[in-house]
Structure formats: C-alpha cells, structure tokens
Symmetry: C2
Subunit: 607 residues, 2 copies
C-alpha cells in the first residue's frame, strides 16, 4: 500500500453538510450500524445505536434508517459490539518510546489511542524551540490528534544544569500564538511555583493569559500548603500523585490527578483506590496517562488501553475507567466539543470493542477513517525527512580516562544516590569510601557504581566541557560493566554509569560515534548499541524494531548484572534533578529534600 | 453608604501572590474558617475546611493555621456552616426581569447567583450591536460576573419579522473579537440550523471559529434526526427540553439540557425525572437555568436558588442539584478554571449556607467581597447614566381606530392562536367568524380577543407603518379591556390585545406617550402603566419597585378578566414566531408546525 496522508476538517467548515446528512438530505461518508454505545456523557450503555459520519465528524448518533447511502458511503455492521470513544493520553512523552512521532503513531493507533498530548520536553532540551516547531510539522498529515504540550522546564531547574536550550516565557507565548502548542507541558519546577519564582511564574502567566490549560508535576507528599500553592498558581492537572490520598486530595482541590501507568512508573494501582474505596465519589476529575512507555510495552501490551484494562482489573467499572481516558480528559483539556465522546459534532474517533472488560479493540476509526484493525495498522503512514541539525546532536570528542577521574587523598564520607526499583526518586545515603591510587572508584562488591554526566549539546562557552561526577547504589552492575546513554532526563547530557573506567569509556565512546543512543558493556565487552539518531533520543525505525532493540538493551543490562526489568528507564532519571533526593547534573550533585528548595551539594561531606 | 465600584483581578496577574499566601509567606485578604465544604468536584462534603482568599481568588482550601493574618485580613468564622460555590445561570435574559443590569445585580446577588450569561437579545432587537456594547459597558464595575451571550437571532427568523436591527455573522464575530461577548446566545432559528440555512450557519461558524461555546434553542419534540442535526451544527447547550426523555436524550447526545425553571416556564419538574428515575446516571451534562423571571419572583422567592431548591424538593440530592448550577455549568462554559468550584486559583464566589436542603443563604462573597448578607445587599451599587438613544426607542405616532380595523364582508374561517397557561407555545385553531359593520371584531363572549402588532423601532423604509393583525383565544379578557406592551418577544414591536378597539387604543397610546412599557385597560379604564424607558423593555428602578409595578400589572390583568398568574409573560410571547404553532409578526401571521419550516399564513383560511 502507498503512504497515507490524512486530512482533517474542522467543524466550522462543514456544519451545513453535517446537518444535511443528519436530516437525511445528503449522503453519509460512513455509517456504523447496530452498536452498543458506551455513552461516556451519561455513563450508560445504549443498545442498537447507529453512528453516522461525514467529513470525519459525527453527524448522528441514534437511528440512521433515514440516512442517505451513496456509492461512496461505507456501511459497517458493528454486530452489537461496543462503540467506545478513542482514548486520549493527556500526559506523555513520545521520546520515551524511543521512536519518532510517525513510528509512534503507527505503534499506538491499533490499541485505540487517537489523541495524544505530547510534552516534547526531551527533544526541546536538545533542540530548543525549533524542536517544538519540528514536532508540530511532523504531526501534520497523521491520523492521530497531536495536541502539543509546550515544554516549560528547559532546563528543569535553570542554573542547576545545562540543556541544549533555555526556554523563556516569550518562547512559551510564541508557541501558542504560532499554533504549535495547544496546552502547557508539565511544570516540573514545583518548588519554583510554590516559592513564587518570578521566571517560573512568568511562564505560567504566559499560558494563563493565552487561555491555555497548564499541566503540573507536583512531586511531593505535602498535601496542604504546597499543593494549594501549586494549584492556585494555575495548574489544572498533575501526574505525580503516588498515593490514593494524594490523588483524592488533588481531585478535591480541582486538580486532575492524571493517574500514571507507564512501563516503569506504576502509580495507578495505588491511586485508583481513591475511587474504589470511596463509592459514590464523582470521578470526573480522574484521568489516566502513560507518561513514559517503552516500545516493548506498546508492542506487547498496547498503549493507554493497557492502563485502562489495569484500572478495570482493579475494580473500576469499565465505563468509569473509559471515562478517565475520554470525556474526563477532554473536559480537562477544554476540548470536549471535539474529542472524548461519541456525540454529534465531535470527531469520529471510534473504537469497535468486542469485550468491555478485556477491551479487545477490533477496529479503530480516527476522524472516521479505519486506521487499524485487529491490532494492526490498516494504513501505511509516510516517514518524515528530518533535517541534519536534528540528526547530529551529540557534540563531544571521544572521552579519555582522565575525564572520569575523581581524585581523593584520604577516606571520606561520600553522598551516594540509591536507586529504588519501580520508583522515580532516589535516596541519599552517606557512605565511607577509601581512595585507590588517589581516586575514588566504583566498588562492585559494595554495589557502588561510578556516575559521570557530560554536557553534549551544541558548543557553548561555559557549558562545553562541563560534567558532573558521583556514585550510585542499587544498580547491581558486575565488574567491568557499564551503561551509557544520551537519553538522560531532562537535559539529555551523556550519562555514563559503570563499575570501571574502561567499560565506561567503551560504552560512552560508542555513543559519541553513532550520534547518540544507549550502549551497554558487560564484562568488558560492548554488548549492544541502540542508535537513536533523532536528537540522540529517538530511532527512525518502527516501534517493533525499537522494541526488539530495547529488549537487547535490557538483556545486555541483565547480562551486565542489573537484575530488574526495564531498568534503563530508571537509570535515565539519575540526571532528573527535580526529583528527590540526590541527582547528577553537568554542574554537579543536586540535592532535593522534601519541602525544601534544591541545592548543590559536594560529593564529599565535610567532616 | 456610598456606591461600590468592583475591581477584579485575573489569575495570571497574581499567581505569585496566591502561592505566597498559600505557603504562609504573605498575608491573606480573607480567611473563612471552619466550613463544611460542598465539594462539587468530588460530590462530597468535607468538614472543618478553611478557605483562604487573596486578590479575590482562592489561594487555599484546607487548613489555614499557617496562613498569615495581617491587619487588613478579614477572618470569618463559618461555624461549621456549608460553603457552596456561587451559582451560575447559563441562560437568561436580564430584560425579562424588567430592570436594567445594575438593578438586576442588586436583586439577585443576595440569593447566591454570582455569574450570569445574559443573552441580551431583547435589547439587541431594539438597539442592535450597540445594545451589546452598552450591556458590556454597564457590566463594568459590578461584583457580578457577566458573561455576555451574543444574540444571534435578531430578528429571530429574518424575512418573517422586523426588529430594530439585523445582526449579521460579521457583527457576531466582532462581538467576540471586541471582547463584548463570551459565548453565543440561543440559536432560536432551529429550523434554519437543521435545514442548513446558509445565513444561520455563517453565524454558527463565526462562533465555532472563535472558539466560542454556542447555546441552542431546539423547541421540538423530534429527538432523532432534527436533534442530531442541531447538535452536529455545533450547539453545546439547550434550554428547550420539555420532557424527561428530551432532557435525557440531549445529555446522551452531549448537549447540555439547561433545565428551565423561570417564573412562567416550569420545565424542571418534568425534566428532572431524567435524573431521579435513572439512578446511577452521570449527571455532569445537566444544568439548571432561569431563562425568564419576573422581578416579583426574584423579590419573593430568589433567583436561581429557587430552581435549585425545587430540584432538591423533587428528590435530587442537594450536592447533585448544586453541581447543576456550579461545576456542570462551568464545564459547559469551559470556564471551570475560573468559576463553579471552591478550589485554589478560582474566583472566591462563595455562599455560606445554613441548611443544605432549604438552601438558606446567609452570606454571599463575590470575588472575595461580602456582597450580601441574610437576603440583603451589603453594598450599594452605582446606577448607570444611560444615553438618550437607549431611553427613547418607541418611534410611533398615536394610533387611531383605523389602525385596528380588520375588514371582512362575509362569514369566514379564521386562524386563531390559542394560548396555553404555563406553556410557551400556542395551538392553532380554525374558527368561524362573522363580520360586524364590515369588520372582524373581538368577541369576549367566545373568549376571542383581537391582536395587533406595530413596528415601533427607528424609522426605516418598508418597516415603518407595518403591522400584523389577528385573534387570540384563551386570555379571558372582559369586554372593554386591553393589554399593550413594548415587551413583545423577540422584535419587541408594540403588541396590543383587546376586546374592543377603544380599550386597545387607550392602552397602546399610553405606552407611546411614556416611551414604552406595559399598560392595562380594564372595563374601559386605564388601570395601570408600567414605564420601561430603557429600550422599551426595562425600568431603571430597583427590582423591588419593578416587582411592585409588575404586581400592579398582574392585578390589573386579573381585573381585566384574565385569571392566570404572571400571564403578561405568556402574552409577551404572542409575537415569538420561532415557537409553535401560530404567532403574530409585524409582517403578518406566521405558522410553525412540528418538523416544518415556518411560513406566512393568511388570517382567513380560503374555502
């Protein structure tokens, strides 16, 4: 089949034709007959419902016996199967799936996600505002609704790290006026919000002034003054609740808890208890998002549907769970006149579903076009010809042993970041370390690996050559093993973790050579390299190929001693300084303790 | 007390201060302690809640023990009483209450309505787009949120009647770009919508293109093709459901049923059965509106609160009923980030309520300002100095007997409009009438009154001098009695109804002399005149004075023989040609039968 270019009509262009079709005066483009409508407006199921589509929009929901059928009209018999609105993922990062937007679209449409709100702050950290524009460009002609969330934390905490760009309030405002972005991405600098940082509030104000919905990231368990300050600053949604109480409190305060169920961060089972343990609760403020999923998860378990299935398996009624990815989310986005419900005037994003608990998605219609069937794409999407500047983003010369050296002349107390499998934060521990040959070195016997993070973006005075160094516990790497990656949230500098310097150099220099990606050295051998040429973050391969490559990375990581699944995702957060408690930036170690502002700390604790 | 000028801050101006207040780092303006929060986000009641306000916006909802109290901080002890969000009336006409916006505001704030969406199509029919601008102007400095709904049916069906202006799609677009209007008013020409009239759809498109929420008026019992066509044309809300099935079907199709409970049109008791008889229904799409209330209703029973009390008395839980005038409506308007919930970042529109079933409103805060207490305004609002062109709008010379003559030379079959107490439509009957002195005359013995409607707006060729004539049944006027009014939906031409010509002239000419209003002649005597100088529609008196004058009108109407309460409201619809079945325009008789387009009909039915 030849590549499919999607075109989309807006309602204001075609109201006359929609009315005429509903009235039976002009023919329909598509009629789906005899479905069981999962009506998310009323939380009821209606039998024997027909849906009539014209120009990709729904003209009628009800009885279509009077509707005109022309030669071009497609008539589908739903055979009493369920009609479910296409799913909306209101917080996610395409980059986490390690493929570009086009491959991603082909990867997720078969599992029923028809709208995404990508916060593309990963690519923006590398490429700046032109990364946003590029993303917007790539979204054109796709049968997926892409509501771009303008990244606002680039870098995540200014002054504490260096990304490839710094996004200003003016650039944020420009992204809205240019029509590139439709909502504001996660405001991760929540300390900056609650402590009234003027730069952070200028960005917030730019969104509010433009009438844009702002999404948050309140990664704290404090649920009174801080959470209120965060919401009062204009935040509408937050995906960082980790407890049922935190989810409930957010909803009570009018902040949509976006219950996260990604590959590695599995908050939903905790959060959903806010619903299952509070019968009668109005759940309209509850949403579900993926945030970050690997390509393997998409291929093996599907996209957002996997999270909805999980919610149902945990005791939420199917219709309530479906509301959390349809009407609730659409209302949150103030887009419920367009998406999130199978109702007249809305986009014909419709899933035909065989079983409502298993959520077996048999057909996926996007704007009235059959895009996927029985888990496979029904269309072939075109690739995108990316510019050179987006494909060559690792600006580093090969590293040497000297670059990894941590000098010391006596036994010292050292700050070590302890990773916690399945969680996004680290714990800060103070450990005693004794130098060997005048250096502090990794100690695989004690499960202590060395960490180095190198500025890798376009050359800039004061940034090029900068690095951060330290140690991590909990990765369980074997001796002579290492992990290197240019996927290193949020600045995506080159992160290297290893149990000796030779292994670290082998992994890091392999990536510098291929222009970014992930490399694993196990027992002294370069076990695998996954090239990610687009901004050092994304493959141009299909999600299936990326899934296979990711499996190779994971196998290699296991072979290198790390026993946990998908642990490359946890490791990629070691540079994410907005998380508690100890993280690595190209400018040094950053400590963030509950309820405090972030601060630089020395690797060595003074006596 | 001196007149109070209200100022209002937008969130984007003050996020830093709100955060600082929530964090306890800057003092609050207002703290309401120890309330029982009616949480409309989750449909739960929370005990022991404090609400902290700064710059009129909510900084914190929860525990305020840490919040700074300065000298200017107002601290209120709610003593465990209920905290309820201010009510939002999403469809109403200020003109129906026969006072100007300033008097209206003082009239309704004490009963807890803090936001209105006035569709000011009455004044716009008289004054055109400058009436919209004037309304916008008058709203400035008021502690009531006035979200103007741009009138789009001026006149209601072009070509079938003449108002003082004709609103075009360009003017509609201008009202949005100028910031005068925040939503689109009721699209009453529903036949034009469903039959794809290009003028009507151009107006619809102007709203959709501007991102504006459109409100509808689908006055039909047909609930499949027509209703779908109406919604598919971009309508978001409709207040014309008259049955539970009609309300449920609207909600199912994603059209907010705005359950009407005004003075004379009392649909809510029927519609609410859609909720009470369908337990478990998601009610988020259900709203409640007043549409039209007399000043007497406001004074005696309150404004929107009266409708909410009614819903509760009919078996809806208080919190569900309150959601129908708060969060549901705010979400419908896509304004839930500003109004409709007591949550951080939202306007501090808060009612302190003693009893949740009786809805005894003890205090009303608007943008954090105490505006009313125990049913009385706590502030005095300033009047507005209206321009001459708005106060002199009846352009008619005194009428003579010749103006009322309906010539006939034999017994004929005549179309008569039968009014139905409590309903907005008429029934068309064919009656035999025999001329007296070469004229068809009223026949009080048969309860047949004569109707005449005269173009009364600014002089215009082809309009000035035009009139419509006919007969009405069901008013029960005594002999020698008449009713005249310049409040005559929607064109507000001069409507005169009477049982003989002398009485009709007496009433009509009294109004021409005072510049508009309502006049009643009973048994040959001019019983009362209620002057309505503003556009011939509204008094500049207080709502209490207007209520008293309305009572005089009603008493006079009863004395003239008409036995029904508030029947002047029913009579004022005799010119509303978008309603079924027979109505009077200045261009003649207009018939509208279910499912058909409107058409002119002759008074006399051909043999």
């Amino acid at each position: 089949m030849s590549a499919y270019i999607h075109s989309r009509k807006m309602l204001y262009e075609v109201t006359q034709e929609l009315a005429a079709t509903a009235m039976g005066l002009q023919p329909a483009d598509l009629i789906i007959r005899n479905g069981r409508l999962v009506n998310v407006n009323t939380a009821r199921i209606q039998e024997g419902i027909d849906v009539v589509v014209r120009h990709g929009l729904i003209a009628l929901v009800g009885n279509a016996d009077h509707v005109q059928v022309a030669e071009h009209t497609q008539v589908v018999d739903a055979q009493g199967k369920f009609l479910v609105p296409g799913f909306i993922d209101s917080h996610m990062h395409v980059e986490s799936s390690m493929v570009d937007l086009r491959s991603f679209t082909a990867g997720i449409l078969p599992s029923g996600t028809t709208t995404i709100c990508p916060d593309n702050h990963e690519i923006t950290n590398v490429l700046g505002l032109r990364g946003v524009e590029l993303f917007h460009e790539v979204a054109q002609g796709l049968p997926l609704k892409v509501l771009l969330a303008m990244p606002v934390c680039v870098p995540s905490i200014p002054g504490f790290e260096d990304a490839g760009a710094t996004i200003t309030a003016e650039e944020v405002a420009a992204s809205y006026s240019q029509g590139w972005a439709q909502l504001q991405g996660e405001q991760m600098n929540f300390p900056g919000v609650i402590y009234s940082d003027p730069h952070v509030h200028a960005i917030t104000a730019a969104g509010l002034k433009a009438g844009i919905v702002l999404t948050g990231h309140y990664a704290s368990l404090e649920l009174n003054k801080g959470l209120n300050a965060f919401i009062a600053s204009g935040m509408t949604a937050c995906h960082e609740a980790t407890t049922a109480e935190g989810a409930l409190r957010r909803a009570e305060l009018g902040l949509y808890p976006q219950q996260r169920y990604g590959t590695a961060w599995l908050d939903l089972p905790n959060l959903i208890k806010a619903v299952t343990e509070n019968p009668g609760l109005d759940t309209r403020f509850f949403s579900i998002v993926t945030d970050d999923v690997t390509p393997a998860t998409i291929v093996e378990e599907g996209h957002l549907v996997r999270a909805v299935r999980k919610a149902i398996s945990l005791g939420v009624s199917p219709i309530t769970a479906i509301q959390m990815v349809t009407i609730n989310t659409a209302q949150m986005l103030e887009k419920a006149r367009w998406i999130g419900t199978i109702s007249p005037g809305r986009a014909a994003d419709i899933l035909i579903v065989g079983d409502l608990v298993e959520l077996t998605i048999e057909q996926v219609y996007a704007d009235g076009v059959l895009v996927a069937e029985n888990g496979k794409m029904a269309l072939e999407l075109p690739g995108y010809d990316y510019p050179e500047w987006a494909l060559k983003s690792v600006h580093l010369d090969p590293l040497t042993k000297e670059d990894l050296r941590i000098a010391a002349d006596k036994t010292v107390k050292v700050r070590v970041a302890q990773v916690v499998p399945g969680m996004v934060h680290t714990e800060e521990h103070i450990l005693e370390m004794t130098p060997v040959d005048g250096e502090l070195k990794a100690d695989p016997q004690q499960d202590i690996a060395k960490v180095a993070i190198f500025y890798r973006h376009a050359p800039m005075d004061g940034r090029t050559g900068s690095k951060g160094m330290g140690f991590v516990k909990g990765v369980n790497l074997n001796p002579h093993s290492a992990y290197a990656s240019t996927v290193s949230h949020d600045c995506h500098n080159l992160l290297v973790i290893g149990t000796n310097d030779e292994a670290m150099l082998l992994a890091a220099n392999a990536l510098i050579e291929v222009g970014g990606g992930i490399a694993i050295v196990a027992d002294g051998e370069l076990e695998t390299v996954m090239p990610l040429p687009l901004a050092g973050l994304m493959s141009l391969e299909s999600v299936e190929v990326a899934a296979e490559q990711t499996r190779e990375v994971e196998n290699a990581l296991n072979k290198a001693g790390c026993p946990y699944p998908s642990f490359e995702m946890t490791l990629s957060l070691l540079g994410l300084i907005v998380l508690e408690e100890l993280h690595f930036s190209n400018k040094g170690l950053v400590e963030l303790k509950p309820g405090e502002m972030p601060r630089f700390v020395d690797l060595v604790v003074p006596d």
